[in-house]
Symmetry: C2
Subunit: 410 residues, 2 copies
């Protein structure tokens, strides 16, 4: 059992033995063959066995047997019911504020357009975001600014960290309309202070739109408690909905009547099946839905929310941060001398559920790791991200990955 | 075997016996219990057995075993490769013009916005569409007009028919920018003349955006031959992708560089994984993709395109129109006296793959039909639509439905 890094495999074994979530690993589909070490659950979560079963049941039952009748029987409500469940278990959101649908990019566009239009009407043309924000967020914001005349105000945070309140404050003023922030930065894993940033923006009369892609399902996200305005997130990372799984959106109840989203579709109409002339938005959060809800693609999300509900989000968070601490410890102890740096916050209160390592040969390192069935991901220019999905990742997998990194760099 | 309508079941049996596509029914998942008569394949197509299997393989294999590596190995190309296959088999489109993604509503929004923006720049602010167009099309157009300043020009066609060239011509002029037409009208089943309308619009300097939701996979749609500009369609009707299956879009090669779509996402970027500053659209049709492709939801579409490729679209069309002719005949012969009217074109060259019946008590009739496991759909105010999906619908099912209608109205 002992490997190249003295004592590391043994520590991992002890941590796994004491892990109250260790049993959850068996809930996931085992690969054929099983993967040696999967550390990319923050890009694509693994499938639950329940999801394989749910999809089969869905194909034969609700789709294959009940056919079109399932829209009346369950599917029309599904994006809202699943949204409510997700909201309660993972987002600290009371019912009637969360819905599922669209790709993350599209849903971000819809909510950002709605927020910017509202801000422009209030004479607040500035949209504040940061250069370290996820690319699609930046591109969507550029597009929205181009079409609405909003002014983009760019923060340039420390790339090893992310958006910090003090820095943001300098850019908040009378002309600030909307602030777009990632809760956890995709590259550095910096965890922004959701409550404080929301409060500061609000104090200045701006709306905040949070990107929860890297925190939903794994970190506490208390949207109602922080009085958040708007949020979007994706379901294919820690929420295991599968490749291209749909996004979810949160619109605080107090804003639902006030905001208008641009993609007016029949599923957001007050009476979708009357099919009458003229768009009239539904009451409540349904108005932010546009097209037909993606039923198959919601299966994995439903299963993951059920599992998180069963074990409690707190246990998931605790393990995520413990896995991260283990990575940081081992890197400091054994890999620093091989040129590997930790580019994520060391403070677990400021870190998400992945740890970002740097190495000048990161690209080649990742390529070689993939060859030996150890799967982190590479990000330009020198980043290796280790994603730590607490429901499916063992300490042993982490140890294997770190051992292989040491071997390849040696 | 003989029922309430003399000779009808016998005729159906003879037609099924002679049907070269009869074997295809066994390719579909049999319900548990099997449905008596499903005539709503134009709202939600039935699942293929291959799709149940493909989803399982996907969950265990590409998703569960190859994990994130599948993006490199196959999924990044999937929306374009599947688009090309769909284009070749069902749409008469050469490679590089069709892609899969988004809901139909969202994709319609993206392409309509792109077309309207282009038209506005050319001093052509009018967007022409008809009051009988599918609701989401009308609502999206209203939204696009509101945000761009385009003027909506409404055609009011005969509700029992649809958009006709002569009528449309009256509304084409120097200020016409975009024409939005459904190839087959969702309510009446009127089949518009795709080639002639496209040519007329072009002659007047306008772009045409075709909605193919009710024709893709079942009727000939020769996009390249007709020199069509833009088209969208859905995959969950005759293409059997399942509830909320993704849309597909067609953008003629000659327009791809010229048009800009509003939802600028990383998946449409020239270099998605460089994640650099500034949106730069990809070459070719990829620029119309926004977010992460919905992989699970594409399974059923892939299977249906393969099946249509195997049997040939022509055979599918022939059976669709023959099923329709059978409905019209039986209604004329046996149900007209019970107050049932045929509200679809009798000319098969002008009809889609559903037949629209009218009856003053249509709503109650549909409710009762559902109770006896006969499934058409109801549309306001007095419409019963019989969807005829040639790969899965038998003449016997049609006969059963018509017998039950007769019984309930008696």
């Amino acid at each position: 059992m002992s490997g190249r890094l003295p004592g590391v495999a043994e520590r991992a074994a002890a941590l796994d033995a004491a892990d109250p979530l260790a049993w959850c690993r068996a809930e996931f589909v085992e690969g054929e063959p099983p993967v040696r070490a999967y550390l990319d659950g923050n890009s694509l979560g693994r499938p639950l066995r329940a999801t394989a079963a749910r999809l089969q049941e869905l194909v034969v039952g609700a789709w294959g047997t009940r056919l079109i009748r399932s829209w009346d029987e369950q599917w029309m409500q599904l994006p809202l019911e699943l949204g409510d469940h997700l909201g309660r278990v993972c987002l600290g959101a009371a019912p009637g504020q969360v819905f599922v649908g669209d790709s993350t990019t599209v849903l971000l566009y819809k909510l950002l357009r709605a927020a910017v239009a509202d801000a422009m009407e209030r004479g607040r043309p500035q949209l504040v975001l940061d250069t370290e924000n996820f690319p699609t967020n930046r591109y969507v914001a550029e597009g929205v600014a181009a079409e609405t005349g909003a002014e983009l105000v760019w923060l340039s945070p420390d790339p090893a960290r992310g958006v910090e309140l003090e820095h943001l404050r300098e850019h908040l003023g009378e002309r600030t309309g909307v602030v777009l922030v990632s809760h956890v930065a995709y590259k550095s894993s910096w965890r922004a202070d959701l409550a404080e940033i929301t409060a500061a923006a609000r104090e200045h009369g701006a709306l905040v739109l949070w990107d929860l892609c890297h925190s939903a399902g794994v970190l506490p996200v208390d949207l109602d408690a922080a009085d958040v305005d708007l949020a979007v997130g994706c379901s294919y990372k820690f929420l295991n909905a599968g490749p291209g799984g749909p996004a979810f959106g949160y619109v605080a109840t107090r804003l639902q009547q006030r905001l208008s989203q641009p993609v007016q579709g029949w599923m957001g109409h007050a009476e979708p099946f009357v099919m009458g002339p003229g768009y009239r938005p539904a009451e409540g959060v349904r108005r932010f839905i546009s097209g037909t809800p993606p039923v198959l693609a919601m299966a994995g999300l439903a299963d993951t929310v059920e599992l998180v509900d069963r074990v409690g989000l707190e246990a998931v968070t605790t393990k995520a941060l413990a896995l991260g601490a283990f990575v940081v410890e081992v890197v400091d102890e054994h890999l620093a001398g091989l040129g590997v740096g930790v580019a994520s916050p060391r403070d677990p209160g400021r870190r998400g559920a992945h740890v970002t390592l740097t190495h000048p040969d990161a690209r080649e390192l990742c390529r070689r790791l993939w060859e030996v069935d150890v799967v982190p991901d590479f990000r330009e220019p020198d980043v290796v991200r280790l994603g730590l999905a607490p429901l499916s990742t063992s300490y042993a997998e982490v140890a294997t990955a770190l051992e292989e990194i040491a071997r390849l760099l040696d």
